[in-house]
Symmetry: C2
Subunit: 422 residues, 2 copies
């Protein structure tokens, strides 16, 4: 009997799941290791942060996704070290896992560009805990304003600053403006939602700078129409509990959210690979490590340069999924002793939602905005929600929110529930 | 212009909401104060603990419930002290609230009968955070078992002890057994769900001792049929990280849950009222304080003795709701200078669910069990879910779980997500 090749995949995000599933019919044994029990549909994470969806609606146990794939098993564990020489992954909670092929798909995390002290005062949005924390802070700000007798302090509570004008920042800023003007408007007695101030700060020259300039403009106008103040070339120099500084300009704000930067999640020790400034592994054209062709790195953990390109592929889910399927094919080819191929990314376009019935979509030369773009955005996101049941729930949640202007998950949980002192 | 009477209600549970809503058409100003922003449908909390429902499906913002009641406002704040002489409620986060009438509806919390050290190792089930913590522990136990090579340690992870044979204990024990045999069965590779051991321990002579003995018997048989070991007259003498002791008998268990006792939540300082052993205020026949007729106490915070009864009314939501409506009427009578009435509880029966298609219902002389009782239980619970949208979501969640044997909210969240060391 031939010994089955062992494939270990670290990370159950879009990339890790794609490679695992694409190996379903191969004569290999796949072990997927993740520190979390769930795969997260990150594109909708801001909806959890804005109380529109429940965490479970955008997360599905990795075990459930792979329950029918007999050659795959799932371990909830943290890969603390990779022993390249012995070809095994050392786990914090279980015996080491030997591998013939290893796929590192550990994703990305929020980066504060060295300002680690900003993490406490300006949370980012990368996982469920982040989203629930942002939800807690945003909802608490309105509660604190409601019970605040001092008008100045009240205005501070009603000021929300979102740092970073990429898709996540645009989504958050738009969603806070909507929350204030539609969802919460009728629920409060002492505060006037018109007093809510939402600022979106972008350090560069325009928001959504990966999109065509005309879509940046349309987004800017949409946001302005929703009452969001957008400032470009706005470099935040300090963040504290009272608000932020833009150089000498002080902006008082009760809530500051960070959507300005990501970096690769810390890699397991021992990987010993060259990385770029954002901590991403500089991979070969077949997504493998220069020193170790049996080790692959994909998705947000990798910096993949297409020939003649000066920037690596963007950290978006289509890249991770396509690389996952590609690496599965390379593993098959290696087993068959065939040569490696070169990964080619098929860019199917990008999109960002701004708010109720407003989005921008760019597919090659096609630029869409407004309601039609929002419909495209909606359909694509629902289509890609991995688990069918979740899809049904999300559709119902959305339909309900859309029709009633209400939000189904306005829960403040955690230890500090009244926000005393925030 | 006549000054409106100020009514302050502390607590947005079943009792507090009932009194507030019943005052909707009175010429009073009601302020509802709660430490949480949400009303919790506690009867379904065990479903959150068992990953069947999302927290937001059984919780609704108190503000939303009262958004259309113009004479009511909601404050997210903690009532730290009651100044009976000055007739005001001192809040931790906002200026004091003066009142003409005060309703204390602060509910109950888990009691460990003096064994405070058990709280860490055997969580109770009273709020969303408890439910999420129990969900985390139960799901982590299976994950730890899956990666555990030692068979003895594995068995310990797969042993669940539920302490307390009341409705909550029965629900939890039944739900864990179902989770193991149906929901998780196909998701694991290394463990066999048949190895899961669920023990339900009751200190008294029978489980569900507030029900008729024949219903206790039927419940016992149902649980046994589901694989739950029920032990009565089982007094837990020690709980630690390895399991429990029943006198000299050691039972190794990875997860211990506490459903054995509740007490009134700590009352605000200064209330200065006589309380019983469980910390409940011994109220007058009109639910007011003996010393202060303008202060009422209802629901789980109160010990109400019907004439000739030796035990106070049970801590269930119908008592709280009926007392809420009753107290609203008494406030109206006081304003009209009419004499107080005596509260009379109308017992509409009690019910407990055991598992999929199994429940017990007792309505006067009518005793139901099995599928028909489960249908009654289902309809009553869906009917009483306060917020319409939640009702729709819960029905869909349930229908989906029922038909597919899956659970929609199998999320492990919080800091310790891999359960290292548990």
């Amino acid at each position: 009997m031939k010994l089955r090749k062992q494939v270990v995949v670290i990370g159950g995000g879009f990339g890790g799941l794609a490679v695992t599933r694409a190996l379903a019919r191969e004569a290999v044994q796949v072990t997927l290791v993740d520190r979390r029990n769930h795969h997260l549909f990150q594109p909708l994470l801001y909806q959890v942060a804005m109380a529109g969806l429940s965490p479970a609606e955008i997360a599905v146990p990795i075990r459930s996704v792979l329950r029918k794939q007999n050659n795959a098993r799932v371990l909830l564990a943290e890969a603390s070290r990779i022993d390249l020489a012995a070809r095994q992954v050392v786990l914090r909670e279980a015996p080491p896992l030997p591998y013939h092929y290893l796929v590192v798909a550990t994703g990305s995390c929020t980066s504060y560009f060295g300002h680690e002290d900003w993490r406490q005062v300006a949370p980012g949005l990368k996982d469920i805990e982040d989203a629930v924390e942002i939800r807690r802070r945003v909802l608490l700000a309105f509660e604190a304003a409601e019970r605040e007798p001092d008008p100045e302090a009240r205005l501070r509570y009603l000021t929300f600053v979102v740092i970073g004008g990429g898709p996540t920042g645009v989504e958050l800023a738009g969603a806070i403006a909507e929350l204030a003007s539609y969802v919460l408007a009728r629920d409060f007695r002492a505060i006037n939602p018109e007093d809510t101030r939402v600022l979106l700060l972008e350090g560069g020259a325009r928001i959504l700078n990966t999109f065509a300039p005309q879509l940046s403009d349309r987004t800017l106008r949409s946001l302005a129409g929703m009452g969001v103040e957008v400032r470009t070339d706005a470099k935040v120099t300090r963040i504290d509990r009272e608000g932020i500084f833009l150089g000498n300009e002080r902006i008082m704000a009760g809530t500051v959210l960070w959507a300005a930067g990501v970096a690769a999640s810390p890699l397991p020790d021992g990987l010993n690979a060259p990385v770029d400034r954002a901590g991403r592994v500089l991979v070969e054209r077949d997504c493998s490590l220069p020193s170790n062709p049996e080790v692959f790195c994909i998705g947000d953990a990798a910096a993949f340069f297409t020939e003649n390109d000066t920037a690596p592929l963007p950290g978006v889910s289509p890249v991770a999924m396509q690389q996952g399927r590609f690496v599965a094919r390379q593993i098959r080819r290696r087993i068959d002793a065939r040569p490696s191929e070169t990964f080619v990314y098929h860019d199917k376009g990008s999109m960002a939602t701004i708010g109720r019935s407003r989005a921008v979509v760019e597919i090659g030369q096609v630029h869409l905005s407004g309601f039609i773009a929002w419909l495209v955005w909606l359909l694509v996101h629902i289509y890609y929600l991995i688990d069918f049941s979740n899809r049904v729930f999300v559709i119902i949640s959305w339909a309900w929110s859309y029709l009633t202007y209400r939000r189904g998950a306005r829960l403040i949980t955690g230890r500090d529930r009244t926000g005393e002192g925030t």
